[in-house]
Amino acid sequence: MNNDPQNGQPKREEVCPGKKDKVDLASATAEIQKKNGPEFWRSLEELASSSEFKEMMHREFPKGASEWLDAVSRRGFLKLMGSSMALAGMTACTRQPLEPIVPYVRQPEGLVPGRPMFYATAFTLGGYATPLLVTSREFRPIKIEGNDRHPASQGGTDVFAQASLLDMYDPDRSQNVIYMGDISTWSTMVGALQGPLSAQKTLQGAGIRVLSRNFSSPTLADQMQRFQKAFPSAKWHFWEPVNRDNVYEGARMAFGQPVETTYDLSKADVIVSLDADFLSAGFPSTTRYARDFAARRDPDSEKMARLYVIESTPSATGAKADHRLGVTATEAGDLARTLQNMMSSPPGSAVPANSLYTLVTTNDQARLLSFLNALADDLKRSRGASVVIPGDHQPPVVHSLAHAMNAALGNIGKTVFYSDPVLANTANSNDSLKELVADMRAGKVDLLVILGGNPVYDAPADFGFADALKNTNIPVRVHLGLHQDETAELCHWHVNEAHYLEAWGDTKAYDGSVCIVQPLIAPLYNGKSALEVTAFLAGQSQANGYEVVQNYWKTKQSGADFDMWWRKSVEQGWIDGTTAQPKQVSAKSGNSAATSSSAPANGEIEINFRRDPSIYDGQFANNGWLQELPKPMTKMTWDNPLLMSPKMAEQVKVQSKDMVKVDLNGKSLDLPVWIQAGHPENSVTVFLGYGRRRAGRVGTEAGFDVYPLRYSATPWIASGKVTKTSGTYILASTQGYQTMDVGDDHRPIVKTENLEEYKKEADFEGEKPQDNETLYNETYHQAIAQKEAYAWGMTIDLNKCVGCNNCIIACQAENNIPVVGKDQVNRGRHMHWLRVDAYFQGDRDNPKAHFQPVPCMQCEDAPCELVCPVGATTHSTEGLNDMIYNRCVGTRYCSNNCPYKVRRFNFYLFQDWDTSQFKMMRNPDVTVRSRGVMEKCTYCVQRITHKRIDSERENRLIADGELQTACQQSCPANAIVFGNISDPKTEVSKFKAKARNYGLLDDLNTRPRTTYLAEIRNPNPELEKGSS
């Protein structure tokens, strides 16, 4: 790589001594290098159309051809020809295989053109699987949904799983094996590594190091063992920036061994979250937890669950809490200790103030104590039906306290279950990486293989991983990754990884059940999976992922019926009988839980590092859907501002969008501020994953990289200083106003009541005219609705909605919704057909938060239809408010007149009409909209039509539940119900008949077909008394 050393990139000579290029391609390479990293692939494409390159292609022999006779540079010439051909291939959209191919005259079995097929597979994040059912159209995966038969999903998904589809089609994905910045091939690399590997063989592999992410795949674990058998002295390290070290450490502290803790929220009457955001994507099994939690939040059921949340950063989980306490993360730990002390005393007995740990006394002690007392009483009243969930980022001691509390409350085996760890690695990944860096610096490493992950970007700052990688003499460094990211840049070899939708594999869900990962499509760029690379390292140079996985399972499932068994497992998506069995664990004696945590030093405040709700640890940085996904609480897109409380902002004298300087461990970083109602004082939160240098055209330079402030000793909770600096920064939030109070008026947009009031009297409908007072009365509307066989309607249960945003991504994937970029979001032109509004009510320091998903209301008396001069939006007989794109001339009056502002306008040509990958990704049933056209939610009319065709062929009506909109399907909480309201027996009709049902802004007489079920909170009466 002829990089400018000032950029911190290695010189070619540095990395590979003796390699001096003489060919003309060097100038081309230099051309590419001039561009900054992220534009790398774009540049290659641009280069491919540059005149020099055309000329190079046009000449019969490249300029270097005269070197043919020169024995020394013949290799150079061959290499040049090779790269020429590779580059030439890039200009074509699709690649024809070399072998003769035959179009199908008879269609393949099962494939009906125009009909979707569904394949089970699984998405893995942090080692935990989300079982999936992927929709395939003509062998192209176009939509990801949860596997409804698997207990970890039950049809729901999370945003990361949904959006991973876009990752596969990402045009910035690494498309070739790269050697020193030049395109190479897998077989070249295999050949090149033979030497070093056989040299290591004699050393027992003492110089080989493998660094992988956390994984749970049994096959990969087996390959890892095979590799270690082949190279006994080699070491395998793990690094995961958003890791579960604390969880396993906590278990070790409590039980002496790492265990997996899972919760059954369907049986929990009282749920306590100790800084655990268990309803947001990224928490293992959030999908299942959200479903169980939502099911227990039905106010019409016998017993509605109650949720207490003690949290350090406002989260979706906190928003759903009946009682939320915003404290710093260290205080949360101290409150956990206090709570644990209270467990031993009988219910009702007040615990004296001095049992609170010292730190929290700085806060409002009386309030905290009464809160904890009420909470402890409530827990003790619900023995065996309660659960205490600690947050992954809380220190191990809090986890061990939670284990102790759950044990004291008799929850083990009822709501809390222990089993063997899901992850293949339970060792501390922090220590693991530290050891690796030490070895690298000690010169013990001769061959480093980085299997996925991006440690150069996300390793703890104090390890200096990037520096160690760059400046120590590791002769061969290999990186496997989906992108040519920051780590790939510092490695000799980069292998383009196969996306999980392209490769075979297996993985475990939170309950330990093994899911088979089956590919939906042949690797787009001939990528290799981690399994294949490991198999190669272990000695199988021609390993094929399918065989590796199958061979492994053959050892587990012997017998003649393997093929049947395999077929069944692949088809259903998981292997029967692999669910982890509950494990008996006994508490270790000498629990050291009583030690108090250290408070931030004087003048310092707590700085919390958290996984980003949208782009996780940064691995989704180049995913436009996720970048533009408004974060649950802030509705922020494309950025990671520092969150602080309103009071703290007053102290620091900043407003949202002002810049502050964060000083931590002698390093400082400038970040923009976002004032977040409900954020605890003396604490700020920053989110990981932004500020990528080489993410791709979407993610590069979006937001701020906070990893340089993240140290191995304080990965989640650190302390530092925040001071105001000059300047402001543009932050693109999608929501205008996050309160329901405007002017001197309160608007009941989200209607809410307490359970007690609700049981006494429920009235959310508001005053309606009597039938004889208006021409457009109920009878009139019912007659219209019942004239047709179908009248589509939807209810959204605000009580169930956990604000996870999954519906937004599902809608985006289903309906080909474009990504518009930060600037356009900032101008108010984001295109989401479905948005989730978040409102805060009450005290700014501890507000109540509400979520409200807003799709098109499909009004019966739609204001938009009236004002369209060209009839581009009209009413269907089934009650849909249809858009006819061809007619739309773009007056935008419909949007002006829509009181819900759910219409979206293509101000520019937002759709990417050129990138061939995106063409493959799109749902062929949905029009790709052009510039100047209005669009909006259609209730997934394409799905209705599919089902209508099916049902008409069978001469029946569409059955209730047969048809799901994309948002409804994806909802982990089952908050969205869609169906035919002309039939009173359907689920949606039953929901609409509930007392909680109300129409948003129905005083405008728009008669929305989408209605809401009011939010009912279930507060602890004791605490209610205290607060009022």
Partner: protein, 441 residues
């Protein structure tokens, strides 16, 4: 033709035309502007500036067509921005011309005769400016309303021009000009039969144009009041819009008349009487507009609708409160000094008050269109509107287009109606009394 009835015996008012003019001197003086007057540096400079603005405008429009309306500041929730504001503003300005030519014609307000020509031209150009916006923006109703208006205005203007074109044809010695003016004059020979038909046609057209004064802006206001957006959905809009249109239209007439009469030395024809009358029309329509403001605010409160009352709150306290207060200041407070005759008869004061009213009326449209949209029903969808450089380019560009058209018009056509002015002369009066026939020359 409107008769210069009873030239107000013994009146103290400024005359409609300065004494001492004859038929010949009028033809000579007005015709000379077109035919003899050399092109002056001022004209060239002004035209050059307008031309530059016009180029900027063309660039902005091309870019707009190439990239899409995204180049504007419009968004969700503010789907309409400057384009609609400007459209309503321009079309309102056009109204004064039609009012002067048609309604005052029918009402036999003879003083209109010296300002109707350029007021009509103003209408034509303003409507052309306005008409561009529906094209950029695509609003179908407006296209119908505007094209009707444009057609009638053009025909009306052209018919009025025919005798003057004939005068120019007869005056000029240049062959080419003779041909052009001759063709445009369509064989006008000044015969009594011609005059008879001309008068009938002119009256008929006046009758046709009169309802347009009311209907065009009523249709435009319906564009808004048909919506449910608070601030749009009100029944007061049609009269309120029409009054506002005439208000701003007369302001524009004054803004044009004052410099024109000064630079082209036609203070004899456009006298203080015209200026004062226009000022009084402004004062009257200004009060109608203010009545509209008052009743809008009253109904917001009296109606009891929470969204309407929030609208009032938002106008007074929201992020765009400045625009509402500036509007009240410009349209309600400043014009009140027109009660003083001294101000009314001072061209400098009138000029600046008229500019102020134009700004105020533009702001009124901004408050109605944009501010109402920024915050309507759902708090989550509240937004802001930031005009981009293309919004400004197209707004200022239409001003440039308008000014360029006026510059050209001043040079190539008689800015004051020669034939109609002659009617105002005492000589014409005498003839009418003697012969009781419709002979004018």
């Amino acid at each position: 033709m409107a008769r210069p009835t009873e030239v107000e015996p013994g009146e103290q008012k400024a005359p409609v035309i300065q004494p001492g003019h004859t038929f010949a001197s009028i033809t000579e003086k007005i015709g000379a502007i077109v035919l003899k007057r050399p092109i002056m540096g001022g004209w060239v400079f002004g035209m050059f500036i307008c031309f530059l603005i016009l180029q900027w405008f063309l660039f902005a429009v091309c870019w707009l067509f190439y990239k899409g309306v995204g180049v504007w500041g419009v968004n969700i929730p503010v789907g309409w921005g400057f384009a609609i504001v400007n459209f309503v503003w321009w079309i309102g300005i056009g109204h004064a011309g039609t009012l002067i030519s048609a309604i005052l014609l029918l009402l036999r307000q003879s003083w209109r005769n010296s300002i109707n020509r350029f007021a009509e031209a103003m209408t034509l150009f303003a409507v052309a400016c306005a008409g561009m916006f529906p094209i950029f923006h695509l609003l179908v109703w407006d296209v119908f309303a505007v094209t009707t208006y444009l057609t009638i205005s053009l025909v009306f203007w052209f018919v009025g021009l025919i005798p003057d074109l004939a005068s120019l044809r007869d005056q000029t010695s240049n062959k080419a000009l003779k041909f052009i003016f001759g063709s445009l004059a369509m064989g006008w020979r000044n015969s009594v039969r011609h005059w008879n038909r001309y008068e009938t046609a002119y009256l008929l057209l006046g009758g046709l144009a009169t309802p347009l004064v009311l209907s065009v802006h009523t249709v435009v206001s319906f564009d808004f009041s048909v919506g449910i957006v608070p601030g749009w959905h009100t029944t007061i809009f049609p009269p309120y819009f029409v009054a506002g249109a005439i208000y701003s239209g007369f302001a524009m007439v004054l803004v044009l008349a004052i410099p024109i009469r000064k630079f082209y030395g036609i203070t004899d024809f456009i006298t203080m009487r015209h200026l004062e009358n226009s000022a009084m029309v402004m004062l009257a329509t200004g009060w109608i507009v203010c009545y509209g403001y008052a009743f809008e605010a009253f109904m917001n409160w009296y109606g009891g609708d929470p969204y309407e009352s929030f609208l009032r709150w938002n106008r007074l306290h929201g992020p765009y409160a400045w625009s509402y207060f500036l509007l009240l200041f410009s349209n309600l407070v400043v014009p009140q000094i027109l009660w003083f005759k001294k101000i009314r008869t001072n061209p400098v004061w009138l000029f600046f008050i008229s500019l102020d009213v134009l700004v105020g009326m533009w702001l009124e449209r901004f408050v109605i269109v944009v501010v109402s949209l920024t915050r309507d029903f759902l708090n989550s969808s509240f937004g802001q509107y930031y005009p981009t450089q293309f919004d400004w380019a197209i707004f200022i560009g239409t001003l440039g287009f308008f000014a360029a058209c006026m510059f050209l018009f001043m040079r190539v056509l008689p800015a004051v109606s020669i034939s109609e002015l002659k009617v105002l002369l005492p000589q014409a009066e005498v003839k009418v009394e003697h012969h009781e026939a419709e002979v004018h020359q």
